[in-house]
Each structure stands twice: as C-alpha cells, then as structure tokens.
C-alpha cells in the first residue's frame, strides 16, 4: 500500500529551482532513502512531504490525501527528525519527552520505555545540553519513536556520528521497519543506504537521476561484468564473467591460492559519479 505519492513536484525559491519534476511512490513497511550531496534538495523534500512548505507545482499525497489538506490527527502520524530540530537544552531527557508525551496523550511509563529502547535509560535526568552528539541523536529519535508514528522522516539520522552509534541507530531503524513503519531517510552515506534501504533515489541539483533498489541499481551499472581475484601471493587477476573463465577460477580454488574474489559491480557512489560527473560530498 502506497503511503506517499509524489507526482511531478517542483519547488522554486524565486528563480532558483530546488526540486524539479520529482516523482516517488513509497509503500508502507519500507525504508526509502533519498541520497544526494549537500544542497541537492533532500531537506526541502522532507519539508514538502511533511507540509512545512508548499510545492510550487505538482501534487503530494500522503495517507491518500493531499499533504496540505491533512488534519491535525493525520499529521500526528508523522515522526520527524531533522538535523536542525532542536532539543530543550536545559530540560532533562525525561522532560524533553514529557512535553511531547503530554501533547500526544502518551502515558508517562512509555517515556522511560522509549528512553530505554534508545539506550538512554541512564541519562533520564541529564539535561540535553550535557549529552554527547550521539546521545542527542538518540534523544531526538526517542522523541520520534515515542509517538508511534506511521511515517518516520529522518534527515541525515547518523550524520557526524561514530560507527558504533551509527550501527546502533541502524539497528533501531531496522527494528522499526519490521514493525511496519515507513521510514523516509535522507543521507549522503552510501553504505548506510545500501544497508538499510529497500528503495533509493539519487538526487542531484533537484532532479532524480536514478531510482530503484540499491543492488539493482549497482547491477545496472555493472558495465565491466568482470571478476577480480587477488591471490595469496599478491598477484591480481581479472576475468570476464563468462563460462570460459569458470575453469580457470575453479582451478585457482582447487589450488587454494585465492585470497579474495569480487565482482566488479559499482557501488552507489560510483553510479552517482557516472550519472552526474560529480562526487558525493
């Protein structure tokens, strides 16, 4: 079931086109990644989808309704975590969540449960200003998770975090996906997208340059179709991905001389470079 439908959406600020003819369809229970370098229009897309700003042209449908016509109850089904969405610095983790628990009519016990779920149970009374960057991200996620939204919008959820904290957040997101959440995330971390996302769109200068499943996209751009082998003696070999090569590779296996073996399909970053001629930064 498609929860988000974006049809020919454009967003202009005066003469500058930020998003150009965007089309997307995102279903319940999937993680969708919008990938692009800084300034590509990712955050603008989230602001459009959540009704914070209006599109210059086109139509955005969420829950089978135009986003501008969603009522308060429907908007409460959104969980939004944006990089610039702040916390109440002087308030404790508990009080930061308590405010939203009161707004959403959530029981107090759930605040502690949510803090425990994101690993902040020991920081319940700690003011937000004393949290590390990773803990702040987790507190923001807790605020989003606590309200049990149907759609999560996450803008660069692991930006600037260490690998261990990023891994922890990935685990939380995959768990939410299993629970049937639709997660719309933006990132410029290709590894994160390949790991988490069911579908991705590569965004460059306001246009979608590629759309699909990450592995499918990588396979589509596998022009070389070769197999690269590194032997234990350090020698590197490259074979055509064909029947003729099979015997040679089998022999190397039998000789137990292979250290690594890889196909030459590109990663998303290489695909992006091929499509746009620019690097992901």
């Amino acid at each position: 079931m498609s929860l988000i439908l974006v049809e020919s959406v454009e967003k202009k600020y005066e003469d500058k086109v930020v998003l150009n003819k965007i089309n997307l369809e995102i279903n319940q229970g999937e993680i969708f990644g919008l990938l692009g370098p800084s300034g590509a229009g990712k955050t603008t897309m989230i602001r459009l989808l959540t009704g914070q700003i209006s599109a210059t042209a086109g139509k955005i449908t969420v829950f089978d309704k135009e986003v501008g016509k969603l009522n308060g109850t429907e908007k409460k089904q959104f969980g939004i975590m944006m990089d610039q969405f702040g916390l109440y610095e002087r308030l404790s983790c508990y009080d930061n969540l308590k405010l939203f628990a009161d707004i959403y009519g959530i029981k107090k016990e759930q605040i502690i449960q949510t803090l425990r779920a994101v690993g902040l149970e020991k920081a319940v009374k700690t003011p937000a200003m004393n949290l590390s960057k990773g803990m702040r991200h987790r507190l923001q996620l807790a605020r989003v998770f606590m309200t049990n939204p149907k759609i999560l919008f996450l803008d660069e959820p692991t930006s600037g975090l260490d690998p261990a904290t990023s891994e922890e957040i990935h685990r939380l997101l995959l768990h939410k996906k299993e629970m049937g959440y639709l997660i719309f995330l933006t990132t410029h971390n290709m590894g994160e997208a390949e790991k988490l996302c069911d579908h991705i769109a590569l965004l460059n200068e306001g246009k979608i340059v590629e759309y699909g499943q990450p592995q499918e996209i990588c396979r589509k751009y596998n022009h070389q179709k070769k197999i690269r082998i590194r032997l234990k003696n350090g020698e590197e070999l490259e074979y055509e991905n064909s029947r003729d090569s099979a015997a040679k590779i089998e022999q190397l296996f039998q000789e137990q001389s292979i250290e690594t073996i890889h196909s030459t399909e590109p990663n998303l970053e290489t695909v992006f470079m091929e499509r746009t001629g620019r690097r992901f930064e």
């Binding site: 939004i80 610039q84 969405f85 002087r90 405010l99 707004i103």
Partner: protein
C-alpha cells in the same frame, strides 16, 4: 487546552533553569520590597518605591520574558518541532503568555501586600497590574514574532523596555517628560495606581490605555501575519 497545558508546564520547568528569564520575575518585586522596607525618608509617600517599581515591572519583565522565550525557541528550532506536533500557534502563545502573566502576577501580589494595599485597593492594584502585564505580554510576543534569534530580540526589546519602564519614572521629576510620557500605557497605569485611593481618573486615561492596547494588538497581528510563528 491539553497542548496549552503542556506548553505551560514545559515553560515552568524550563524557566526554573533559565536565569535570564527567572531573574526578570524576581528582580523588581525583591528590589521594591527591600527598598520599601529599608529606605525611610521624610515626606516620601507610603509605598513610593512599590509604585515606582510596579510600573518598571510592567514595562520590563513581561516584554523580556516573552520575547526571549519566543526568540530562543525560534533560534533553536524547538518551536518548529512543536508546530509540527500539531500545536497551534495560538496554543503556544497562550500557554507561554499565561505562564509569564501568572509569574508576574505572583510578584505583583507580593508588591501589593508589602505596598500596604488592602481589600478593594489591593484588588484594584492587581487589576491594573494585570492589564499592564497583558499589554506588555502582547508587546513582547510581537518582538519575538519579528525576531529570528535572541540577539535580534535583545536589540529590539531594550529600547522598548527603556521607554516603557523609565519614562514613567523620569516623568515624576520632569514635566516635559511627563507631558509626552502620557501617551504610554505604563505611565497611565502609574497614574491609575497613584489614584487608587481617591479614584480621580479621567476618561482620557482610559482612552489612552485602550489605544495603547489596540496598537500593541495590531503590531502583534502584523508580526505574525508577516512572519508566522516559525518562518
């Protein structure tokens, strides 16, 4: 109502840890009570310091508190989170404004009692203070509405509060300032407070106060029509 209550409770907790705002609620009542109790000068009218600081309280505390709170929320993007959580701008302003008003009124009650007001006089004093706080709260909210961050809010609130708080005080020493200061609601409220016992007020005092309230309300509407609560 639920959202307004949530905003009110959040503000109560936050202000206890926000010295810049908290001091505004405490400073004038405490100073006026200390001065009233310690300084005894011949021929100085009873409750002189209370009256003087009451007007300064009206002209400063609600303006600083309201504009600082709103500007900080805009700057830190917490206001956007609230609005995205379906809190209506009116609910936010009402929750915050009610909190600021109640805090100011608590100070006013202390000032009124220490100033020697009792019974109907105390009630009249509190009504005058309440009206003054409401006008100032709208003024502070207007400044918050025009400003994207606290620094801009500070640069706007300082001249406003200097005029509203100090002109009535200086008017007691200078007739020219008194003449021109009459257009301010803070000075009118000082006059009302001075005449609580005898009730010698003219229609023009009510009209000027009413006009001030209308001007502040128009400014408030313009501020939020132009910028919204979070633009």
């Amino acid at each position: 109502m639920n959202n307004m209550k949530a905003i009110f409770c959040k503000q109560a907790k936050d202000t206890m840890k926000n010295k810049a705002v908290l001091i505004q609620f405490l400073m004038f009542p405490v100073i006026s009570i200390i001065m009233n109790q310690t300084i005894k000068v011949d021929n100085l009218p009873e409750g002189y310091f209370i009256r003087m600081f009451a007007v300064m309280y009206i002209g400063m505390a609600p303006i600083i508190a309201m504009s600082s709170i709103i500007a900080e929320e805009r700057e830190k993007n917490t206001l956007r989170v609230l609005l995205m959580s379906n809190v209506k701008p009116g609910e936010y302003l009402l929750g915050t404004g009610t909190y600021v008003w109640i805090m100011c009124m608590l100070g006013a009650i202390c000032m009124g009692i220490v100033g020697g007001y009792r019974g109907t006089d105390l009630m009249n004093f509190l009504i005058l203070m309440a009206v003054g706080f409401i006008i100032s709260i709208f003024g502070g909210a207007s400044i918050g509405g025009f400003c994207k961050n606290q620094m801009v809010a500070n640069s706007m609130m300082v001249p406003a509060m200097l005029i509203l708080a100090f002109v009535p005080m200086m008017a007691t020493f200078n007739t020219t300032i008194e003449k021109y200061g009459q257009i301010l609601y803070s000075q009118q409220i000082q006059l009302f407070i001075s005449h609580i016992n005898d009730g010698k007020m003219e229609m023009k005092n009510y009209v000027i106060t009413g006009i001030n309230m209308v001007i502040v309300l128009i400014t408030f509407v313009v501020a939020y029509r132009k910028n919204g609560l979070d633009e």
